[in-house]
Symmetry: C2
Subunit: 346 residues, 2 copies
């Protein structure tokens, strides 16, 4: 076995949308596991919108990736060396290995996978962080009730498709928003949305709002927020009294240069949104899934069997080659993926 | 008894701050109670910031006052005629009689008061809608825990002073914000706030934020929102993770012309506030107290004895004469009152 691996480092911080020059694909020595540590050869890694935030130096809920540091990511792979009784070579595990072909982690930071139970890539999407994010946010803060109406954007992504399907199984009317006719077809045909609107077909929030209003004749009770921007602006006037808005992200604003006073809200002012929360008695709740791992076993117990039975569908978009991860990531931020974005590392 | 009463009607809708010309003080015939109805001679009426919203024609959580209609208000007074077995002349009652010397209401819309238990004006403030608003919002959505820090503006008003005192009794550090040195003295000396900042002493939100930061060395866990504007902008960056923001009003924006896209947020953008909710895992909840009267008996049972014992203090600012109600109201919207604003009608 060679002692050389490859990784993608943060070469410079982007201003606005990331560019190729912000990333550096480079060789590095394979790390040596210490006491209680495990060395994993990464087979697949996850690409997720939150990684854009880690590229900024701004204070957020997680520390930024340092310049020259390996980009952060979850991955699944095979144990090739272990100094822990909990793992042996040949085991499969999920861990935060970064954008890299190899990674060392303490054994207690890894989760063992059973490849006989299904594709290990599921641990990156439908049964991993994104699926868990959708399920937790919907059940804990969305409080879905049969007969209500839910709206979620990025409806064919791993978060949105979980939210839509869990809501549908709970008896809600589900309206997706996605980028392009192909994704909208996927949303309704594969993920069971009652309708899906193509946000690219609308120049303004007002136009989107009009069709959304038609698709939601009884208003919107739950808006699962993962995009912000035009969709948020279109949704807010349609929210019903006592509506709920779990917020797990706002991808449309991630490239907006820090989201400060200079970021455009496309007509939605802070007073207007604050007033809507007041006069519609809305519950708005931000969360990051890493604070809620206590519910992960409950999630697996409830959703795992439904994935196995096909009651919950999922779709993966697998790019090949770590060296293409930056390009794939940049494309994903523009909606270029179809389903959960994964990179096949080997 | 004369058959003439007086009332204040909405003569025209304000654009921005209300002016005297928006109100009309005029005589009217005393209404005759129908079956099951009660005629009350109003002794005291309440003036509250929410009434500003009722003067606009905008869709809100309550219907606007129609042009020519009597301005809305709660009041307390003496029953002078009754067609209901529930009330007899000489009884005292609280009801929504409007800005008027007399009012007729169905008996089931009135609450009987016992003048031997304390001043009937308490039903307009500390033990009425404002005090109940503060207690409900704090206990239900603020979820105060001993050792945490709470911030509330309009700290000497009937909502803010209730919030501060209930939080203090629960073991929180309480920081008030009020307009002027006299109010700040009142906040700390009478209402037990640990500190109070005079928002008039700060030109910008950044300056206010700096002193607020000093007053809240451990950050802010609960911001009880009743003002919006500069205070909100100063508070948001100081909120702790998992903080709670109950919203019962936003008086600083009430005169901002409908709070639409044109309203200034003084530097606070919608994306910035939305991002703060996400990255600090905030819970933001709008409410109107009229949806929560099921908790009113619990409120009275808990807070009533503390008011009687003096553990919870209150202060009333009583203007004399219904004809001065418009001027008193306009002054109150600018912070001209010291304590709960009441008008002595007779």
């Amino acid at each position: 076995m060679s002692d050389q691996m490859f990784r993608v480092a943060l070469a410079s911080r982007p201003s606005g949308a990331p560019e190729a020059a912000n990333f550096s694909y480079e060789p590095a020595p394979i790390p040596v596991p210490g006491d209680g540590e495990v060395l994993v050869r990464v087979h697949f890694m996850s690409l997720d919108p939150y990684m854009r935030g880690r590229m900024d130096d701004a204070k957020s809920y997680a520390a930024p990736v340092p310049l020259g540091g390996t980009m952060e990511a979850g991955g699944v792979g095979e144990v090739i060396a272990s100094n822990s009784p909990a793992f042996k070579p040949g085991d499969f595990a999920f861990g935060m290995f970064g954008w890299a072909t190899h990674g060392v982690q303490p054994a207690n930071m890894l989760r063992k996978l059973d490849p006989s139970q299904g594709p290990i890539t599921a641990a990156l999407g439908v049964l991993g962080m994104p699926g868990f994010t959708g399920w937790h946010g919907l059940t804990e803060y969305g409080k879905p009730k049969a007969g209500e109406t839910l709206v979620v954007a990025a409806a064919t992504g791993p978060v949105g498709s979980m939210v839509g399907q869990v809501a549908k199984l709970a008896g809600l009317r589900t309206i997706g928003i996605a980028g392009g006719a192909d994704k909208c077809k996927l949303a309704t045909e594969t993920f069971g949305f009652d309708a899906c609107l193509d946000h690219r077909a609308y120049e303004t929030a007002a136009e989107l709002q009009q069709d959304l209003s038609t698709a939601c004749p009884d208003g919107i009770d739950i808006y699962f927020e993962n995009v912000g921007g035009k969709v948020l602006e279109a949704v807010v006037p349609l929210m019903n009294d006592n509506g709920r808005i779990p917020i797990c992200g706002m991808i449309s604003w991630y490239n907006a240069g820090g989201l400060g006073a200079g970021a455009t809200s496309q007509g939605l002012s802070a007073p207007a949104i604050w007033r809507s929360i007041l006069v519609k008695f809305l519950s708005v709740k931000g969360f990051i899934i890493s604070n809620h791992f206590d519910r992960y076993p409950e999630f697996l117990a409830e959703v795992g069997p439904k994935v196995a039975s096909g009651d919950i569908s999922y779709l993966e978009d697998i790019a090949v080659g770590l060296e293409h991860a930056p390009q794939t990531f940049m494309s994903m931020l523009q909606g270029g993926n179809m389903g959960k974005q994964i990179v096949k590392v080997i």
